[in-house]
Amino acid sequence: MCLGVPGKVLEVDGLVAIVDFWGLRRPILLDSVDQPVSPGDYILNHVGFAIRRIPPEEIGETLLLYEQLLRESGEDMMAADVRSEIRATGGEGGP
C-alpha cells in the first residue's frame, strides 16, 4: 500500500504542479494537499496526487530523530560512522 515518492516542486499553476524527481518531471495534482505549495517545496506523491507538503525542516528533524533513537539505545554512532568511512575508502569498497 502507498507507493509514495517525494519530489521537488518546480512550477505551480492552479491545482497542477510540475514536480521534479531526480531529473524526471511529472505533473502532480494538488487537489488533496492540505497546505499551499510553492516552487522549491518538497511534496509526497501518491498516484499522481500530492498528499503532503514535506516541510524542509522535517528532513533534518528525521535524521536527528534517528540519532536520538540510537543515542538513547546506547549505540555509538561516531564509531559506526568512522567504521563506515574506513570501509568506503579501502578494502572491498562497500559496506
Binding site: M1, G4, D34, G48, F49, I51, L70, E75, G93
Partner: protein, 381 residues
C-alpha cells in the same frame, strides 16, 4: 574490486545509511533479548512495508527471535473474487476497464483482467486515476475505473469525482479501509501480535490520532513508520521499546509526513465521496466498515448502479479444488507463512497463481517467491 558508484543515500530524502542501519539492528537484538519472549511477534499491515523489507533484505537485520509478520495489508490480495469478476464481466461486455497495474493479473473465479485482455477485452493500465478520466474524454466508449487500494489511494479517486467526471466514466470501487482489519487481527484468539507497525502513507491522510482508541481498547502499541530502510528499522526499534516498557501508546516515527490529525482536506474529500461498508476481504471473511463504496449522492458515477453486473455466468465452473486448498486468508492474518501452504512453489507460482497473495507485487507469497522467502543467504550486517 576497482569500482564504486555513488550510493543512493548520497541524495537527500533517501534514508539508507548502512552504518545507522547496523546500529539499529543491534538495538533490535538487544531489545528482543530484554523483552525475553521468544518469539516477539509484531505485525505490519502494509504491502509496501513488506516490499521495502524484502527489497532491501532487511530481514537479515532482524534478530531471530523477532517475528515481523505481514498482515492483511495488500489491497489487491484482499480484493474478493466477486469484485474481480465484476470487472471481468464488464470487460467482456465491451466496456473499457482502466485500472492500476497490479489488479490486471489478479485471478477471479475463472479469469483475470489479463486473461480477458488476451481474449480481446480493452484493459488499460494507468498510473493515476486522472489518466483514466483523460481516457474517457478521448473516447465515446464507456470507461470504468476499477478502483483498488486503501484509503490513501481512495483520496485520489475522491478528488477526481469532486472535480467532475465525463458522462461516459464510472467507478467500480474495490477500495478498502485498513483500521477495521487491525481490530479483527487484535481480536483473533490465536493472535500473538504484541505491537503494530502502522502504514506511514495511510497515516499521512488519516493522522495517527485514530489509533489512540485502538491502543486503549486492546493495550497493544502502534508505531507509525515510513518506508525507507531507516524508517522501518527505527519504527521497529521504537515499537520494541514501547513493548518493553509496558506502557502501550501510539508513537509517530514518520513526523516528516504524519501528524496527529492528518490531512484534513484529504479526509474531507474522502468522506464526502465514500462511505465505509462491511464487506468480504478475500480470505478474511467479513470486515465491518472495511470496504469503501460511493455514497448515494454519487450513484450516477457508480459502475455498480450504472451497469447491471451479473457475475453468476462465471460460476458455471465451480471453484477448483486448488482454490479450496489456498490458505491466503491465514497468511494475511499472520497465522501461517507461505511455506505452510501445500500449493506454494508447486501449483501456485507467479505465472500460475492460485490465490491473490501470489499475484500482487505486495502479496506475501509473491514477495517470498520473488525474494526467496526467508532463505539463509548470509550477509547479515
Amino acid at each position: 574490486m576497482t569500482t564504486l558508484c555513488p550510493r543512493p543515500s548520497a541524495t537527500p530524502l533517501k534514508f539508507r545509511d548502512p552504518a545507522k542501519a547496523r546500529a539499529m539492528a543491534r538495538s533490535l537484538a538487544r531489545l528482543t533479548r530484554q523483552i525475553g519472549r521468544a518469539p516477539v511477534s509484531v505485525m505490519h499491515v502494509c504491502g509496501s512495508h513488506e516490499q521495502a523489507i524484502a527489497k532491501f533484505g532487511l530481514r537479515a537485520s532482524f534478530p531471530k527471535d523477532l517475528n515481523v509478520i505481514m498482515g492483511p495489508g495488500c489491497p489487491v490480495c484482499v480484493t474478493d473474487v466477486p469484485e474481480v469478476d465484476e470487472a471481468v464481466v464488464l470487460a467482456t461486455r465491451g466496456v473499457r476497464i482502466a485500472t492500476y497495474g497490479d489488479m490486471v493479473k489478479v485471478p477471479g473465479t475463472v479469469r483475470s483482467l489479463a486473461d480477458a485482455q488476451a481474449e480481446g477485452a480493452r484493459v488499460h493500465v494507468v498510473y493515476s486515476v486522472a489518466q483514466a478520466v483523460e481516457l474517457a474524454r478521448e473516447t465515446d466508449d464507456e470507461v470504468v475505473f476499477f478502483a483498488s487500494g486503501f484509503e490513501t489511494t481512495a483520496v485520489a479517486t475522491a478528488a477526481v469525482v469532486l472535480r467532475g467526471l465525463p458522462r461516459n466514466f464510472s467507478i467500480l470501487s474495490a477500495h478498502k479501509y485498513i483500521p477495521p482489519v487491525m481490530e479483527i487481527v487484535a481480536e483473533m484468539p490465536e493472535g500473538r501480535v504484541e505491537g503494530f507497525l502502522a502504514a506511514g502513507h495511510a497515516a499521512t491522510i488519516t493522522g495517527w490520532g485514530i489509533f489512540e482508541r485502538f491502543v486503549e481498547r486492546h493495550r497493544i502499541p502502534v508505531v507509525v513508520a515510513g518506508f525507507e530502510p531507516l524508517d522501518i528499522l527505527a519504527g521497529l526499534v521504537k515499537l520494541l521499546e514501547v513493548i518493553h516498557d509496558g506502557r502501550p501508546r501510539v508513537e509517530n516515527m514518520y513526523p516528516r509526513c504524519v501528524t496527529r490529525e492528518g490531512n484534513l482536506r484529504a479526509q474531507e474529500q474522502l468522506w464526502k465521496v465514500f462511505r465505509p461498508v462491511g464487506g468480504r476481504w478475500r480470505g478474511i471473511a467479513h470486515v465491518p466498515n472495511g470496504n469503501l463504496r460511493l455514497r448515494d449522492e454519487w450513484a450516477g458515477v457508480d459502475a455498480r448502479r450504472r451497469f447491471h453486473i451479473d457475475v453468476t455466468g462465471l460460476w458455471d465452473s465451480s471453484p477448483s479444488a486448488l482454490v479450496q486448498e489456498c490458505i491466503c486468508g491465514d497468511i494475511m492474518a499472520g497465522i501461517a507463512s507461505p511455506t505452510d501452504c501445500a500449493l506454494y512453489g508447486s501449483e501456485c507460482l507467479p505465472e500460475t497463481p492460485v490465490g491473490a497473495c501470489m499475484v500482487s507485487s505486495e502479496g506475501t507469497c509473491k514477495i517470498w517467491h520473488q525474494y526467496g522467502g526467508h532463505p539463509d543467504l548470509g550477509g547479515a550486517p
